[in-house]
Amino acid sequence: MDNFQQLIQYVLSGLSNGAIYALIGFGFAIIYNATGIINFAQGEFVMLGGMLTIFFLTVFHLPLVPAVLLAVMISTIVGVVFERLAIRPLRNAKPLRLIIITIGASILIRGIAMLVWGKDTHALPAFSSNEPILIAGATMLPQHLWIFGVTVLIIIISRIFFNYTMMGKAMRACAYNAQAAGLVGISVKSMTLISFVISAAIGSMAGIIIAPLTMTSYDVGIMLGLKGFCAVIIGGMSTGFGTVLGGLVLGLLEALGAGFISASYKDAIAFIILLLILFFRPEGLFSKKETERF
């Protein structure tokens, strides 16, 4: 019985981490599909989300909701500025060069964050009470519910956006065939910009909902970004649903491995999975065909 309770506990924390990885992976997939580049600055949006929220809460004493909204907005503006200054001027460069530029940008953003907020870790208060909820003998925090709720909401909204709005369809069309999209009047440049806007918004939201559980600091973007990248590699870059599954699988394996083997292997597990997948199934575990994207 004790083991069973522990298992439930690991599964719960695995799923909540997995949800975060999935959201971060979403950001990778959206930009990748729109531009063909892997944005290694994705993790910095996650960091900005959490840090900015704490900043507005503690320095300006704003209530939670406006603080979150402002944090998402500013992270998004950073995404826009990044696209305008670093990506757009080099539109015709090879993807590899752009990817290296994204790494540079991530170092820059992280450096600025360190100068502004220092190296300390900060805690974001839980959104609602901290009273644990008992489920089958395992404890769950209300913040876990927030994480699952917000994640599901974001996934539903983005599915509606990509499948039922004209702009979302245009983004998918652009990802499928940029040249044909240009010929029907879709501006490839604006689609690139919008992909950065959406990725930054989703990434920062992920950083905000996880911050009360894990604490946050100027450098959380590195690890979280890499985990999100793992999620998207497991799920396959081209499928939105695969990315969600990839995130959950990664979160679960990590939690189970850390629980039953050793907590010190937690991060190693993600990278072992990453390498195995890149070796044996580089298209991802859950990607079916070319035709399904987002």
């Binding site: 004209m166 369809k169 245009a170 998918r172 069309a173 499928y176 065939n177 040249q179 044909a180 999209a181 240009g182 010929l183 029907v184 009047g185 879709i186 501006s187 490839v188 440049k189 070319e290 035709t291 399904e292 994207r293």
Partner: protein, 279 residues
């Protein structure tokens, strides 16, 4: 008072002379809607078009013929902004367009049906058509127009109406070509560029598509630049033709003349002077 009267006289005078001048030009030669002047287009170091010029008048069907690799697609791509020319000029209604991005050129009224159809395969037929009218969707008032255009396309190609909910990737080659043409028409182009619409299609299907294009052009007064390897069918439908060879324009004339031209017959119509039993 005097000044006002003078002003009024002047306005009337200006309007009359302008109208007269236009009528005049119309009767002697139609206004060229598109002028391509001496363009040179490169892929990296390799020159694909050398000093190519071409013009289109309103309402014309003009065909561009040439062997595989002659540069026909490159010419269309230069026109639509995909592969901008390195030198030379392109005017559309006297607006220079050689520095514009593809979506801006679509907005001005030039739509290209790309080689190999290029439909959005993971999308339904209906979605493909709506994406074709992407520029109109930005405005609320555009919705009715889009619906109307969609009905127009479905009337033009009734088979598409039956397949409306199907994914474009599941259509036959001919249906995909119809969809690609329909998608281009959704933007209400003034000039339609067609790149080898007959490629890989059965003769019956090609005939059907050509018939629709011809009717459409006549009824809607849409100007068409048709690129074809199927030179005979294209020249029969077109008013004028151009012949492109190795990136250079080598011949230009009325379609009927080109059909009779010995060089064209030998190179592009599969006719030569041998007797039938010699072939």
């Amino acid at each position: 008072m005097q000044i006002l009267r003078n002003e009024a006289y002047f306005l009337v005078y200006a309007a009359v002379t302008k109208y007269a001048a236009q009528r005049c030009i119309w009767t002697f030669y139609k206004v060229a809607m598109l002028k391509i002047k001496n363009i040179n287009t490169y892929y990296g170091q390799a020159q694909a078009l050398t000093n190519v010029s071409l013009h289109l008048s309103e309402g014309e069907i003009v065909t561009l013929i040439g062997a595989n690799g002659a540069g026909k697609t490159t010419l269309l791509n230069s026109l639509s902004g995909i592969v901008p020319p390195q030198s030379g000029q392109i005017f559309f209604h006297d607006t220079p367009i050689n520095n514009l991005a593809p979506h801006q050129i679509v907005r001005l009224g030039i739509s290209q049906v790309a080689e190999g159809r290029q439909v959005f395969k993971p999308f339904s037929v209906d979605d493909n058509l709506e994406l074709g009218a992407y520029l109109k969707q930005k405005f609320l008032s555009g919705k009715d127009k889009v619906k109307k255009n969609k009905e127009f396309v479905y009337d033009l190609f009734p088979i598409l109406r039956e397949r409306k909910k199907q994914l474009a990737g599941t259509l036959s080659g001919g249906e995909q070509q119809m969809l690609a043409i329909g998608r281009a028409l959704m933007a209400n182009p003034k000039l339609l560029l067609l790149d080898e619409p007959s490629m890989g299609l059965a003769p019956m299907v090609t005939q059907e598509i050509f018939r629709v294009i011809e009717n459409f052009s006549r009824e809607e007064k849409t100007t068409i630049l048709l690129v074809e390897q199927n030179a005979r069918a294209a020249l029969k439908m077109a008013h004028r033709g151009y012949v492109l060879e190795n990136g250079r324009m080598i011949l230009e004339g009325m379609a009927a003349e080109l059909l009779e031209n010995k060089d064209v017959q030998r190179a592009y119509l599969g006719k030569d002077k041998k007797e039938i039993w010699e072939r």
